[in-house]
Symmetry: C2
Subunit: 238 residues, 2 copies
């Protein structure tokens, strides 16, 4: 019980790309919330997430709050940008408006949503935060590839492809299914490593899973030397 009533801060996954993979819960939250916050970075994810929301329902009359979040590894620059974005969100919440932060996929898996929860709780200690889970990109990829990620006692690893050879080798040793995320910069190295281990026939590449522009490649040797986008993954199933 507090006097400082404020809006609810929602994290809502809109799914991997196909607007039909949005959940009823996310749809309801989008419908009732007057403010939709979407990170605007140098990648396509923000516009894609907003595009999905737009296909799922009419957004007329709602505020689209674009948060400028640069894709940088400069910690100070990032902290300043996040603080500024959190201020913008907090301003609406203090006006007793619900704010829904939309995320491609699921808000709890590789999303910037989670950074904002502590920042906002600091500004508004009594803030209510609620998360609507979403379908992940790898579930969508598995559906498109018709590839079971795990059966029975199967073990699954999810690892960004930027890791070094030793980490990747160890992960390949210890797991039945390995999902390499963000493979765009590491694809040549990864293809060589998988071929050397005789695992190239067990590897499946998918880019923009669930999007209209989805691409699948099952002969991973063809991936070498080709430029791939940020939303690409490689699944190895032993």
């Amino acid at each position: 019980m507090t006097n400082n009533s404020c809006g609810v801060f929602y994290g809502a996954g809109v799914g991997p790309g196909d607007p039909e993979l949005i959940t009823l819960k996310t749809l309801r939250i989008l419908q009732k919330s007057p403010v939709i916050a979407v990170p605007k970075a140098n990648d396509e994810s923000s516009s894609v997430a907003l595009g999905i929301a737009k296909k799922a329902l009419r957004l007329d009359g709602k505020e689209i709050l674009e948060l400028s979040l640069p894709m940088t590894k400069n910690a100070a620059e990032l902290a300043t940008a996040r603080e500024k974005a959190a201020d913008e969100i907090a301003k609406r919440l203090k006006q007793n408006l619900d704010v829904v932060f939309i995320t491609l996929g699921d808000p709890m898996l590789y999303s910037t949503f989670s950074y904002f929860v502590p920042l906002l709780k600091e500004k508004l200690p009594s803030l209510k935060v609620s998360v609507s889970a979403g379908v992940t990109s790898f579930s969508s990829a598995a559906a498109a590839l018709m590839l079971p990620l795990a059966e029975g006692e199967g073990r699954v690893a999810i690892i960004p492809a930027s890791y070094g050879q030793e980490d990747i080798e160890r992960t390949l040793d210890g797991f039945d299914t390995i999902i390499f995320m963000k493979v765009h910069k590491a694809i040549d190295r990864l293809v060589d490593l998988l071929r050397a281990r005789g695992l190239d026939k067990n590897a499946y590449f998918i880019s923009k899973a669930g999007w209209d522009s989805e691409e699948i490649e099952t002969d991973i040797r063809k991936l070498k030397g080709v430029k791939h986008g940020y939303f690409s993954m490689l699944i190895v199933k032993k």
Copy 2:
């Protein structure tokens, strides 16, 4: 192009438990399909998946095809039961009826759906199979716990808790977040192991994530010696 037209075989995830976490795609497939296939085992998952479908839409006039699939490790018994169940599904498909096999969570992650695809393709080589991805139980758990599973370059492992100490130790060493599935039989051992490594404060237990009967325990020492259900998991975030 084939003369042997037959129904489509759908694998559709109904999400982790909350009927609101069903996707629009699964809802549409359920609406248009005259046959809903649901595995009937000795656990609660089948009735739960059907319960979610029933809450999401009216099933009047549809055939509910219950497939008897015993929870046994006897390979021959299992193969016979699956073959019989596949025959039942194939019979409807041959009558040009679409059949949707419903799965709690996602059809590509620890679901019996994937076993039926090759069995049915053998009987009906031109069969069209389509998968509607679902929200997983661990995404729902992370939402309830407000626990980001991965941020930035984070690595996630999903491993059934039945594995031995060495496997579990290695997984704890190599990953930032470890999701232990089906912890009901291994909980005492797991709690001891996590305490010995000083990771008990980083561990979160959740049972029936997203169900009305969801249970959360953040003091995992309280879990020892208590009977837990099949739908329980433990998430360790270092």
